[in-house]
């Protein structure tokens, strides 16, 4: 059980406090962007391309302008006048806001209709007709580099192909040499297909430009409000929207998961229109638009290889990736990392040789990919290493748990430098896997499996032991569009001992209003319920890079602890003054300073804070406030051991997840209930791509499942009853030893499930299946191996 240093009444680290934010949500009093209503507000709807690749011959807007309520129709030519028809992406590529001559993916924005009511905007949208000249699109990324393929980005001067960039890391010579001579080499081709974050709230905004004061207020579903404000100023500063004239407000957000980090064309068009007409403009996308046009996630084709000895020692890995980015690289990675943190793909194992290389290409698909609850491509990396490790175990005839235990980095070897240069801060992989195995009686399960196999029944056990890499990141290496990835906390305590704290991050459900208060409560002894937490308004919150990539606790959480410690130092001085002793004579316990040896001579934090306003020592600055901008010295490395048990029906190939145990290590835990909730949610977003979700395009670039009718987001029926637990290896470099946890489960779960299913099928010689693994895929694979011959 977690030992708490503070009482429940104070509610510091380790307490499962109920959430403060729940009060408004359970009563329908949340304030999401679509709830924002301003006087004179106009509504915007977007006309979209039915073609994946086409020239625009003519956009006919006259009929739309006749629709009652329609105020304007905006096309690329209108935006071109202000040089707003193209915008930069976060990866320094360029993206169309509205096209002037060519559309590049199905559902691309083509024109925007502005009207006085929601329904009139939709009527107007239906009345716009566009004449296209369709062209043959490039859909298969493997074909995009054919010399005969059309050059999709002919808008880029001198561009002669569809190649975006090449990235490599590791030691190619040493790795190639190892693979030439190793006893055992295994190789699998893996596709991690496009999926969508599909948060229940779609994206949207209300752009409110005030002509009188030349001021823009942008209510927006954004995970990174300050970065957005700076981007708006960079893109539209030339028309007068300089940074002090822009206020971005991210109100309550209905799920982000990385999908609400990029700047989508809809936002920019809304700002442009509001700027031109001087009225608020609301844009809220439909679910279909959200699935079909917003940035997707994943879409990596990976050739994964592992080399080792006959008795199971891993010696090296090699990964070659083809990354399908759609028509522009609109990923949201730190700028120096085009493949995000993929280089964590060396995994949790102790070996020294790797080489990874990636080529990114353009295709006629929506741009991206977003970092969907994956800390920048860690889902792809962990899937590759955990799948190939299981493959290797099968090849050398070892139990996958034994093989992992044999190869894990040992607890005493941390901090550990990986072959791609990361310094893993701490971990105890052996303890984590052992705990998962004990929770399931692993050996009994293997015995059961052997018995079932003898009868021809399909039962599988899959393991995933992952190392995550989160908390981007140290200013030395991490920036987004040049802005360093520090984060911030500002704490102000009022005379009556209650506080308000503001942060540069932005929760979309992670519970910051509760957890940040707990961090501060731990340091200052002020009850968490007396600490109000605010995020999301760039006029008041200190600058930060937002919430994604599990970075809030590692960066802003650290800032909160350090700012609170600055306040505790000030409190000590005031207490010494009030008690007429020297600072060294004082001891701290949560909520009060007392004189060593005379504990009845004490001052509570509330008395101390009151004194900061009413009786502060002469010469000391009055008030009780501290700010800290935290530049993390390293990333943090949460880890986990997940074990999944599946039963597959021999005839229908239906897959039932019988049990799933997730042991997570996120360092010191702020709120166990919230951590568990994050794990549950991430696991469901992990089983989703493993078994149910995939965005499917045909060879003409039509999306085949662009609505919730056909894109299967798991319901409570598909989602198993998760079992969770933890080990705790604090991060040695983090002020409160915490690591972050939100993304570990989405990262760790898919390979555990894929490994379990493949494990069930190994008696038939099946060594790999791509996710999502459906009953039909299993049926096809079994049929190919002749498994239905004797029926």
């Amino acid at each position: 059980m977690i030992q708490c240093k503070t009482s429940k009444a104070i509610g510091g680290m380790g307490h499962s406090l109920k959430r403060k934010e729940d009060a408004r949500f359970i009563q329908g009093k949340g304030n999401y962007v679509d709830d924002v209503k301003l006087p004179g507000m106009l509504y915007m709807d977007i006309v979209r391309s039915p073609y994946a690749y086409a020239k625009i011959k003519k956009i006919n807007i006259e009929e739309a302008l006749k629709v009652p309520g329609v105020v304007a129709v905006v096309t690329g030519r209108d935006l071109e006048k202000y040089n707003l028809h193209w915008m930069p992406t976060l990866m320094s590529d360029t993206q169309m806001v509205l096209p002037t001559d060519t559309v590049m993916y199905q559902s691309q924005e083509v024109a925007a209709v502005i009207a006085t009511t929601k329904y009139a905007a939709r009527d107007g949208r239906e009345a716009v007709t566009v004449e296209y000249e369709p062209m043959k699109p490039v859909i298969d990324p493997f074909k995009s580099l054919d010399p005969a393929a059309p050059v999709l980005r002919s808008d880029k001067e001198g561009k002669k192909d569809n190649h975006i960039w090449n990235w490599k890391v590791g030691d190619k010579e040493k790795t190639d040499a190892l693979f030439e001579t190793a006893d055992v080499v295994v190789k699998e081709q893996m596709h991690i297909p496009r999926i969508h974050v599909a948060s229940i709230e779609t994206c949207g905004c209300v752009a409110d430009y005030d002509k009188v004061n030349n001021h823009l207020t942008m209510y927006m579903t954004t995970q990174a409000p300050h970065a957005i404000r700076t981007v708006i100023a960079l893109v539209a500063g030339h028309v007068g929207l300089t940074e002090e004239k822009v206020r971005v407000i991210a109100p309550d957000i209905g799920g982000g998961f990385g999908g609400k980090v990029p700047v989508y064309p809809g936002y920019v068009i809304a700002i442009a229109v509001s700027f031109l007409v001087g009225k608020p403009v609301k844009w809220i996308e439909d679910r279909s638009e959200n699935l079909q046009a917003d940035s997707f996630a994943r879409d990596y084709h990976i050739t994964a290889e592992m080399a080792g000895t006959k008795d199971g020692k891993i010696l090296g890995t090699r990964f070659k990736i083809l990354a399908d980015h759609g028509y522009t690289d609109a990923s949201a990675n730190p700028s120096k990392f085009p493949t995000g943190m993929f280089s964590i793909a060396t995994g949790s194992y102790d070996y020294g040789t790797t080489y990874m290389e990636c080529d990114a290409v353009y295709t006629n698909k929506p741009p991206g990919g977003v970092a969907y609850r994956c800390s920048f491509r860690v889902t792809e990396a962990v899937h590759a290493i955990e799948r190939i490790t299981d493959r290797f175990a099968f090849e050398v005839g070892k139990d996958p748990a034994d093989l992992r235990m044999q190869n894990f980095i040992k607890k005493e070897d941390f901090p550990w430098k990986s072959p791609t240069g990361w310094i893993y801060d701490s971990g105890d992989y052996h303890a984590g896997l052992q705990k998962a195995m004990d929770a399931l009686n692993y050996n009994d399960l293997r015995r059961e499996q052997a018995e079932k196999r003898a009868k021809g029944e399909l039962m599988g056990i899959g393991i995933s032991t992952f190392t995550e890499i989160v908390g981007a990141g140290p200013s030395k290496d991490f920036d987004i569009l040049g802005i360093k990835m520090f984060d911030s906390a500002e704490i102000r305590v009022h005379p009556t001992g209650k506080a308000i704290a503001r942060f540069g991050t932005k929760s979309q459900g992670q519970g910051h209003e509760t957890t940040y208060a707990q961090i501060i409560a731990e340091e200052l002894g002020i009850p968490a319920e007396n600490i109000a937490i605010e995020e999301g308004d760039t006029d008041t919150a200190p600058y930060g890079l937002g919430t994604y990539a599990s970075r809030s606790t590692p960066t802003a959480g650290a800032a909160a602890a350090i700012a609170a410690r600055k306040l505790r130092d000030k409190a000590r001085k005031i207490a010494a003054y009030l008690l007429e002793v020297s600072e060294d004579d004082l001891e701290w316990e949560p909520g009060k300073f007392f004189v060593k040896g005379a504990p009845e001579k004490a001052k509570t934090i509330q008395e101390i804070v009151f004194a900061a306003y009413t009786n502060h020592p002469q010469g000391m600055e009055a008030g009780f406030e501290a700010t800290h901008y935290y530049d993390p010295p390293n990333l943090t490395f949460p880890s986990g051991a997940y074990i999944c048990v599946v039963d597959i029906d021999r005839e229908t190939c239906e897959i039932k997840v019988r049990r799933f145990v997730a042991i997570d290590d996120c360092g010191n835990i702020i709120n166990p209930m919230i951590v568990q909730g994050q794990v549950h949610g991430g696991l469901t977003q992990g089983i989703a791509p493993a078994m149910y979700e995939e965005l499917i395009y045909d060879e003409s670039g039509n999306i085949l499942n662009g609505t919730f009718m056909d894109y299967l987001v798991p319901t409570a029926v598909e989602s198993p009853s998760w079992e969770t637990g933890h080990t705790v290896t604090p991060s040695p470099h983090h002020p409160i030893g915490a690591k972050g946890v939100g993304e570990s489960p989405t990262v760790g779960a898919p390979p555990a499930i894929a490994n379990a299913i493949v494990d069930a099928l190994t008696p038939f010689g099946i060594t790999h299946l791509d996710i999502p693994i459906t009953p039909y895929k299993i049926f096809k694979a079994l049929k190919e191996k002749g498994a239905f011959e004797n029926a």
């Binding site: 729940d22 974050v197 933890h726």
Partner: protein
């Protein structure tokens, strides 16, 4: 070509002039300015818009306002009396961490109101099937099941289960 409809919303009678094509969810959100009921999809799949229509949980995105003429609806705002105690489900969701971002929550709770009225002691499987028309992307559903079981116990007048998280 507007139609006049009479509809009782959370106990209050309203007479409204609406287009025949106005969706009930838009009537609630845009005409009555009650934004607790949310929109999460355009294919009746997500359930964020779930309310009670004459006591039955329905997806208000798939009902026209004119179809609710003469009827009574209850939205999340009407679940607990003004200034009064929360409904056991509302309390249960908070006590058991049954929500993260809160966007699916009003629809989920309204669905569960009917679920518990129909069967106030549902099994886990019954709850999961019962809420399979309501998507949640954040919670992973485990704690929603717990919240419903907790509320059921409270409504049956029994001792509620522990709300402390359980770990292996």
């Amino acid at each position: 070509m507007n139609k006049t409809i009479n509809i009782t919303v959370n106990g209050t009678k309203h007479t409204l002039e609406v287009e025949p094509r106005l969706l009930l969810v838009h009537m609630i959100r845009e005409v009555l300015n009650m934004t607790g009921t949310h929109i999460g999809c355009d294919t009746s799949s997500c359930g964020a818009c779930t309310i009670l229509l004459d006591g039955k949980s329905i997806k208000s995105c798939t009902v026209l306002a004119v179809q609710a003429d003469g009827k009574s609806i209850t939205t999340i705002e009407g679940l607990a009396p003004e200034g009064g105690p929360l409904h056991p489900l509302q309390e249960g969701f908070k006590e058991n961490h049954g929500l993260h971002c809160g966007f699916c929550t009003p629809g989920m709770i309204m669905r569960c109101v009917e679920l518990l009225e129909h069967n106030n002691n549902p099994t886990e499987e019954e709850i999961r099937w019962g809420i399979s028309g309501n998507l949640c992307r954040c919670t992973g559903y485990n704690n929603i099941v717990k919240a419903v079981q907790w509320a059921g116990a409270k409504m049956r007048g029994e001792e509620t289960p522990s709300t402390e998280p359980e770990f292996v």
